[in-house]
């Protein structure tokens, strides 16, 4: 039996898809929200330090399924490997209701004005597709505010002189300072820097019917046991369902967008949780699968008008895959820095996001989330032997005495960092899988080294007796902050979607996730994805005429 026709089918219930579902359903459109993963809850919080979304040695706790979802990774030397979700290089993001927002650390950053005008600010960069967004910060500002107040953001950015103009403060105060904050804050001041409280999608006081953070040790990578950390799974998606206009179907893997003879979308074909092929017809198709899977879905949609994939007339779908090149340093202190007060990340500076001599951009720098014992292995400095009594002795003495500062370095996009379809490997459902290839731009690495140096300076000023840097390598960047593969732009020849996130080629298919980011800011991207989803949904609804959008 055919499924009931709806106004909109949304593929992917993460940050973008969750907001779109709520906005459309609230406006009275009938919506089907398809999610390939499951809907987890606070009760699924099992504090397992080897089996979560951040440390995946025993698997990726919140998906995707390890056996069903291979990808192919092409290394710089041409070597090809079939990788599974918990393998390095897979570029995994969680596959569940809420997507990455279900188990992330929840930093809630606005990008700065220059982050939308990278080409105008810094000029061209050889070998890079560095460009401006077709929209400005001002276009997004009201929707940043909407995301901050509707989902709920805590923190205090008033002391950040580099922030873009904003009309309202954040709705919730920051958590009380932890010990790292107290050590780092005066040191930053002495250096003439401008430290402030990290904004987070985290309740610090009761908000929207949920309680506040209990400051446990198990934050990023885990479900929030008290449901205080905020994602689309506990805000906009339940709100969408409450309207009665939205149906959420989990365990559903979308195969392709269905097109009529003229090339307009009529819905999607997907495999339901029993692996039965279903067709969901809809007036609108909204693709929200994340930068890798959204590009893959478009490329897997073949039609006589689009022989190389939907939206791919000029070959841009899947290109410009980027993320963040995390760079920073670890400092060893004489006294305890560890106080077991989660989430740990608390203090940040934006002094080095822009205006760095000779560099095109930079990064926010913040202290890291609490490090669980096994995670601490990655903080052991290179001069300590990898095993034996010296290694154990170092871990024992240093575990409680380190601070880690890291920054998400804004990357210089590359056309050759890309998602394609693998010609041979197929997933559990017989769908061609993503084939990831490319490297990072050398200038990204240069910026990373600079940021690592600045992190080291801050740690030294704070009293670290020893410091060691972490700078990025050249390998392809993807992972949880994946972005860029369906670039937003005014010129159909050099971008995939227009400024309203609608495909240039088809007037009823939208992409609403980080795929559309032209560049990815020197900040965690979640709030920008949410804000852009609000903005795009508002434009879509404004154009909506009952059965289609006005062209």
């Amino acid at each position: 039996m055919a499924l009931r026709h709806v106004n909109a089918v949304i593929v992917g219930a993460g940050a973008g898809g969750g907001v779109a579902a709520k906005e459309l359903a609230t406006a009275g459109l009938s919506v089907v929200l398809l999610e390939r993963g499951e809907w987890y809850s606070a009760a699924d919080c099992r504090k397992d330090d080897l089996f979560n979304q951040r440390t995946q040695v025993l698997g990726a706790r919140f998906g995707p399924d390890e056996e069903r979802n291979p990808r192919v990774l092409v290394e710089a030397d041409g070597r090809e490997t079939v990788v599974t979700p918990s393998d390095g290089g897979y570029s995994n993001n969680a596959a569940c209701v809420g997507g990455g927002t279900f188990s992330y650390g929840a930093m809630a950053w606005r990008y700065q004005e220059k982050d939308f005008r990278m080409r105008s600010t810094y000029g061209a960069l050889e070998g890079s597709t560095l460009d401006d967004w077709p929209i400005a910060y001002a276009d997004l500002e009201p929707y940043y505010e909407k995301a901050e107040w509707e989902l709920g953001v805590s923190g205090d950015v008033s002391a950040d002189p580099f922030k873009a103009p904003r009309r309202k403060p954040l709705p919730m105060p920051p958590l009380a300072p932890n010990r790292e904050y107290q050590i780092l804050q005066p040191a930053a001041k002495r250096l003439g820097l401008h430290p402030f409280d990290v904004p987070m999608l985290r309740n610090t006081v009761p908000y929207n019917g949920r309680g506040s953070c209990m400051r446990c040790r198990w934050c990023v990578g885990f479900a929030c046991e008290v449901n205080a950390r905020t994602g689309t799974h506990n805000t906009v998606i339940p709100a969408a369902l409450e309207t009665g206009n939205c149906e959420l179907r989990t365990g559903c893997m979308t195969r392709e967008v269905l097109l009529d003879s003229r090339g307009r979308a009529t819905g999607v074909a997907y495999f339901d949780s029993s692996d039965r092929l279903q067709e969901q017809t809809a007036d609108l198709v909204i693709v929200c699968g994340g930068a890798v899977e959204s590009a893959r879905l478009l490329l897997n949609t073949r039609h006589k008008l689009f022989p190389d994939g939907l939206g791919n007339r000029f070959g841009w779908v899947g290109r410009n895959l980027q993320s963040h090149s995390y760079s920073g340093a670890t400092g060893l202190f004489d006294n305890d820095t560890y106080d077991d007060l989660g989430p740990g990340a608390s203090i940040a500076i934006s002094d080095y996001n822009h205006g760095n001599p000779g560099l095109k951009g930079g990064a926010m720098i913040a202290n890291e989330f609490l490090r669980l014992p096994y995670q601490f292995m990655s903080q052991v400095p290179p001069w300590i032997p990898e095993w034996g009594k010296e290694h154990k002795e170092f871990v024992r003495t240093a575990f409680n005495k380190t601070i880690v500062l890291m920054g998400p370095v804004q990357e210089m996009p590359l056309a050759e960092a890309r998602v394609q379809l693998d010609p041979k490997v197929k997933d559990h459902w017989g769908i061609p899988v993503a084939r990831l290839s490319g490297t990072r731009h050398p200038h990204t690495i240069e910026i990373g080294r600079f940021i690592a140096g600045k992190a080291e300076d801050w740690l030294k000023e704070a009293g670290a007796s020893q410091t060691w840097k972490r700078a990025p390598g050249r390998s392809l960047s993807g992972g949880q902050h994946q972005a860029g593969t369906c670039r937003m732009g005014d010129d159909p020849k050099t971008s995939v979607v227009n400024r309203n996130c609608r495909l240039h080629d088809v007037d009823n298919v939208y992409v609403i996730d980080a795929s559309v980011h032209v560049t990815n800011g020197g900040f965690n991207p979640a709030l920008t994805i949410l804000a852009n989803a609000y903005r795009t949904s508002a434009i879509l609804l404004n154009d909506w005429k009952g059965s289609k959008v006005r062209s």
């Binding site: 995946q56 390095g88 008290v226 963040h324 990655s378 001069w383 871990v395």
Partner: protein, 208 residues
């Protein structure tokens, strides 16, 4: 912020886990004694590594049934290797924390794909031990075991990297997976145990 993705993953380590400095520049290793270097050359010439590999296919040695995957001999070797990686001192080491149980359990579940590497790697460790010192690894003195492990790192990089990572996981990770007995490492790090916050039950004692 440095979520499971962006930089947390060290590609040169198995299973993409976010740990460990994988590179091992020479400066970080105990230098091989000239004696062992010589022996290794001889042993390579004799094709001993090939023989070790061949032994793998000759069937399993007897097992008491205590182990899910290992033979009794293999388990003793793993125990001894883990004890070198994380030795006991004022605090328990990998042996006391039961790391071998963690590895054995995971080889029957999550790490099934690593079985062949383990079987071959452990045979190689004993082959190097016999060729160099005329005894099995478990019967060697501490310093000799260190030399054999350094040699193993050179010849069986994949195996060495795996068992080192797995030893760390078994020692520092959650006791529910079979290692970190009595939360030995968490006590060593002065972490409150059992965790005191929250409403969930902690099934630390459950194995498997």
């Amino acid at each position: 912020m440095m979520a499971a993705g962006p930089e947390g993953v060290n590609k040169s380590l198995p299973n993409g886990h976010a740990t460990g400095v994988a590179s091992s520049p020479d400066s970080r290793k105990t230098r091989l004694s000239p004696q062992l270097q010589l022996r290794r050359r001889t042993l390579l010439g004799a094709g001993l590594f090939a023989a070790a590999g061949a032994a793998v296919s000759c069937g399993r040695a007897k097992s008491t049934g205590e182990w899910r995957y290992f033979t009794d001999d293999e388990a003793r070797t793993v125990d001894a290797i883990a004890a070198q990686f994380i030795p006991a001192d004022a605090d328990p080491g990998a042996k006391e924390a039961g790391v071998v149980h963690y590895i054995d359990i995971q080889l029957s579940k999550r790490f099934k794909k690593h079985r062949a590497v383990y079987r071959e790697g452990l045979a190689t460790v004993d082959a190097i031990s016999r060729a160099s010192f005329g005894k099995r690894f478990v019967d060697l003195a501490d310093a000799q075991q260190v030399e054999v492990l350094n040699s193993t790192e050179e010849h069986s990089k994949v195996f060495f990297s795996l068992i080192l990572s797995h030893t760390r996981q078994g020692f520092y990770g959650d006791p529910r997976h079979g290692g970190n007995r009595n939360r030995a490492s968490w006590r060593m790090l002065r972490l409150a145990t059992p965790p005191v916050r929250g409403r969930q039950h902690y099934d630390n004692e459950r194995v498997g």
